[in-house]
Amino acid sequence: MQMAGNVHAWRLDAPLSPPQNGQLSPLPSNRTPERRNHDGTGRMDGEITPTLLQNTQSDVPVSGSHTSHAEIVTDAEVLVCVRGLTFRRGSHLIFDDLNLDIRSGSVTAILGQSGSGKTTLLKLITGQLRPDAGTITVAGEDVQQLDKAGLFRLRRRMGMLFQSGALLTDLTVFENVAYPLREHTDLSPSMLRKLVLLKLEAVGLRGARDLLPHELSGGMARRVALARAIALDPLLLLYDEPFTGQDPISMGMLMTLIRQLNDAAGLTSILVSHDVQETASIADLLYVISEGRIIAHGTPAEIAADPSEEVRQFMDGLPDGPMHFHYPAPALQDDLLRGTA
């Protein structure tokens, strides 16, 4: 069996399938990445782990779920565990008793309409926001119980791709990718240079190392941000709306990168998006959220077959349905006849 860690050319034109022999990334890593199959469990086709033999039923509740996927989830496989999450902004309830699990090694997508709290969920998982109730556990650590030093220690094992890229505008592409390495490691300049160039090679932008962020296109900026996010070889990579505003070519590149980085470097990925088709094509598991709760979860095939009205409206992009087009307002006639501007 060809194991990961072998150094072969890693190409963007490789198919979006499980990595085959000779297609794994040459990503420089402190950890030895595990080879994973497409469902992200780390099992190879046909293999059955002892854990799976011992557990025949998931003990994970999923709030409001209309779908039950057949995958068996054990504690050892869960990297991110959200239980009873409630979060308010002022009087507006964003999440109401939300439960979800992110399996280790998988690409999990969280789908939902704009304003449904997807980015807020990422901020809660990374400890940038504190929930009103409930717990969020990442790699066995309760995020809410961590002090600042503990939170920063945990974040060194996470990478996040922001919607805007969030590159430091006064630093070159090279310096942006080198930034977390300079901050958290004592690598020699020559080793640091090699690592940065390899990270940039992985996203196809080694040649752009001397450019400043304002000289990059939107797609290039996100790829640089991705290189920076993987600089410290994180366990968990979070993507906030990675496809928004991208042309088809950039989108295709990002999709390929996300899937292949996850498989080749043995990451766990959480992808927040409202681009249904693109996300479904690279995710192992989908969660659909609406009005503060999960309305469905399962594999892309299971979600595609979900008959519930709410899920169908979102997945098929129907303008009318349980999710309203209009923001709550008094009757139009009353509004028009009352007062002046």
Binding site: T126, Q128, K148, F152, R153, R155, R156, M158, G159, M160, F162, Q163, S164, A166, L167, L168, T169, Y179, P180, E183, H184, A225, R228
Partner: protein
């Protein structure tokens, strides 16, 4: 109706107090981050360059003109009492005690303070501060602390340059144009300007103004609403608040130092 007005007033008051509390907490966090600039002194040099060196031109030119105006106005007042030979003392004392620290602070608030607020505000709006947090880097220590200390250290240096150039401006007008005796201009200045009373007090003032201008600028940027309008409004507030606080604190410091 009156209850609503009272509630709004109370709400505004509470908001203002909360903001003041956040500003103080941010200041304490920024000061406690001093270890970061001891570990990476180049961060401090870069900010002294940004706040100090890049403000040199505007401070130098302003100092020259203020000194020249002082020379003209001072000469006509002193000439009425036959004391025009004391022009050097008057120009130097006014600049070192008062105009140097205050005008420099106002100029730095307009040039560097607004720039700091806009920079921090835009870093917030473009998620750069969040990105730093996600890279396990404290943005207060990494971004705010070097700027705070850079501003505090640059202000007295700029005020000293303002005063020095101002004295030269007064000299050009008084000695060069109006015929005040060269020796009297310098010797009286040397005899009457006291190091502790005038120069040290001016230095203390400019240090205090450095804290105020930089702190206000950083807080306004860090606390800004992360939108174009939010950053714009924060930048305006930064200059207005810093100028008003500097003038108010100047009165208090002057009363304490020279009030009798």
């Amino acid at each position: 109706m009156r209850l609503n007005a009272l509630a709004r007033l109370g709400c505004t008051g509470l908001d203002a107090l909360e903001r003041l509390g956040r500003a103080h907490l941010l200041f304490v966090r920024s000061v406690l981050g001093i270890g970061e600039i001891l570990r990476r002194p180049r961060l401090l040099w870069a900010q002294i360059f940004n706040v100090g060196v890049l403000s040199l031109l505007i401070v130098g030119i302003s100092g020259l003109f203020v000194g020249m105006v002082l020379g003209l106005q001072g000469y006509y007042v002193l000439a009425q009492f036959g004391a025009e030979q004391s022009l050097g003392v008057m120009v130097a004392t006014s600049l070192v005690r008062e105009l140097g620290p205050v005008v420099t602070a106002l100029l730095v608030a307009g040039r560097a303070g607004s720039s700091l607020t806009a920079e921090i505000g835009l870093m917030k709006a473009t998620e750069q501060l969040s990105a730093l947090e996600m890279m396990a880097v404290d943005p207060v220590r990494r971004i705010l602390t070097p700027r705070l200390f850079g501003g505090i250290l640059a202000m007295p240096l700029l005020a000293a340059i303002f005063s020095a150039v101002g004295v030269l401006g007064g000299y050009f007008v008084g000695v060069g144009l109006l015929g005040v005796d060269d020796g009297a201009f310098w010797s009286q200045m040397q005899a009457k300007v006291d190091f502790e009373e005038d120069i040290l007090n001016g230095l203390i003032k400019s240090l205090a103004f450095g804290v105020i201008v930089t702190w206000v600028a950083l807080f306004q940027g860090y606390d800004s609403v992360p939108t174009a309008a939010g950053v714009s409004s924060a930048t305006t507030r930064s200059v207005v608040h810093a100028a008003l606080i500097v003038l108010g604190v100047d009165f208090v410091l002057t009363a304490l130092m020279f009030g009798g």
